[in-house]
């Protein structure tokens, strides 16, 4: 049950055509070294699920530039002109999803819920083609659960069982994506022995972490 793997083993877990969830908010809390290794390997036809597409030289934005995605599900692409170009020229399909809806859809996928009932997006393009449900006189949009083949995550510290802690604004989607993917790979800045993280301080329990790679300091 050793969860620690090499970068080479990690990139081999991501296959052409996979749906990948990637943690991070404008690149903050994204596993940068794992992304660099995936670009080097040249995986393709991926579907990306991520808060945003970061910048051309940072986070998943680098993967956009490397044209690794056939589809992108995200809340924001405004900081990465290449995403917008690929979308407008029809090279890449982009589905824009409200940020709060996206995280709840991922949580629903990981927590076994049938969907998310929300007011966000009512009366907008987001509502198109979706079911609305009236509950006690209020209308809600039904948004479906989302799952992925692989989650690529970042943490400040991981112990050998995969228990994770975080610093600053790096949690964002890293806490739920591991619940909604078949396997999850965490790039941790520091890996510590079992017992070094107090059970009270664990933010993500190791059961949601399949593999750990040693990312080193930021």
């Amino acid at each position: 049950m050793n969860k620690l793997i090499s970068m080479e083993e990690a990139v081999n877990l991501v296959r052409d055509g996979d749906t990948v969830m990637v943690g991070g908010f404008l690149g903050v809390g994204t596993p940068e070294r794992l992304i660099d290794a995936l670009i080097e390997k040249g995986v393709k036809d991926l579907t990306l699920i991520c808060n945003d597409t970061a910048f051309v030289d940072r986070g998943v934005g680098k993967m956009v530039v490397a044209k690794m995605f056939k589809k992108i599900m995200t809340s924001h692409i405004g900081t990465n002109k290449e995403t917008g170009r690929q979308m407008l020229e029809g090279e890449t399909e982009v589905e824009l999803i409200p940020q709060g809806t996206l995280v709840e859809q991922i949580r629903a996928g990981g927590y076994g819920l049938g969907g998310v009932l929300t007011k966000t997006g009512l009366g907008t393009e987001v509502e198109k083609g979706k079911l609305t449900i009236n509950i006690d006189g209020q209308t809600y949009l039904l948004e479906k659960p989302i799952r992925a083949n692989v989650a690529l995550l970042f943490a400040e510290r991981a112990d050998e069982k995969g228990n994770l802690t975080f610093h600053g604004a790096t949690r964002n989607f890293n806490t739920y994506m591991g619940t909604a993917a078949d396997i999850s790979i965490v790039e941790a800045q520091e890996i510590v022995k079992v017992g070094e993280i107090n059970p009270d301080d664990v933010v993500v329990p190791g059961i949601f972490v399949t593999h750990i790679i040693d990312g080193g300091a930021l």
Binding site: F25, L26, G27, V28, G29, N51, D52, F55, T74, S75, H76, I77, G78, T79, G84, M87, L88, V94, L96, P98, Q99, G100, T101, V103, E104, R107, T118, K119, T120, G121, L122, G123, T124, E125, V126, E156, F166, H167, G168, A169, T170, R171, N172, F173, N174, T175, Y176, V203, L218
Partner: protein, 219 residues
């Protein structure tokens, strides 16, 4: 005549007066971000950053930048004592659950029924909604802070022509010309910047503008 920066600061300063002691506030990118600089000293306002914290503090010195502490625009910031970090699940629980007292956002267009368009121009500029749709549906009070017109074109309209970010969402619009409440009967001017005449403000507004009986000068 104010230049662009003066105009933005004038608007931001007026928006700041709408924030109450103890309020939890989320500021959008751009002009709204400036509002934090003008909170009256007698009020303690908590700023939420939707990337995952409450207690947004000032920009740090260059040698004190922590790459993990940035605002929702990825700019280095600080967190104040008494602040807390959390994940996007909780961040949007706070937003969607009505725990944000006020959000301040920019807009491309606002309609007299409170509809707002601020996330895309089809075929041209498509940044995406980010957290804006969540903030518009969840925050208790929505203030749009923006210049009254865009290169002479109306932004306050009878109906939005761009794709909507939310319906019936805007409560108040603050521009360099005045303060407008969005009411069931439409736009109501409640404060007027004395630098502009009522006729000028009406001409800059693409929908009926009702003048409040208790109209005040904008401070």
């Amino acid at each position: 005549m104010m230049d662009k920066q003066q105009t933005q600061e004038f608007i931001a300063k007026r928006v700041a007066l709408e924030l109450n002691d103890g309020d939890l506030v989320n500021l959008g990118i751009g002009l709204p971000t400036l509002v934090a600089n003008f909170v009256p000293e007698d009020r303690e306002v908590y700023f939420q950053s939707e990337n995952g914290f409450i207690g947004l503090g000032p920009v740090p010195a260059e040698d004190a930048v922590d790459p993990c502490i940035v605002n929702a625009g990825a700019m280095p910031v600080t967190i104040l004592p008494g602040g807390s970090f959390f994940d996007s699940g909780m961040s949007f629980g706070i937003i969607r659950g009505g725990h944000v007292d006020t959000t301040v956002l920019g807009a491309l267009q606002v309609a007299e029924n409170g509809d707002i368009a601020n996330y895309m121009i089809p075929g041209k500029m498509v940044p995406g909604m980010g957290g804006a749709m969540d903030l518009l549906s969840g925050a208790k009070k929505v203030i749009v802070a923006m210049e009254h017109t865009a290169k002479g074109n109306h932004k306050l309209l009878k109906e939005c022509t761009l794709p909507l970010t939310a319906i019936n969402a805007v409560d108040m619009i603050i521009t360099e010309m005045g303060v407008i409440e969005v009411t069931p009967v439409g736009f109501v001017l409640i404060e007027q910047n004395p630098d502009f005449s009522i006729d000028e403000i009406k001409a800059a507004t693409g929908a009926e503008l009702i003048i409040s009986e208790s109209l005040k000068p904008m401070v």
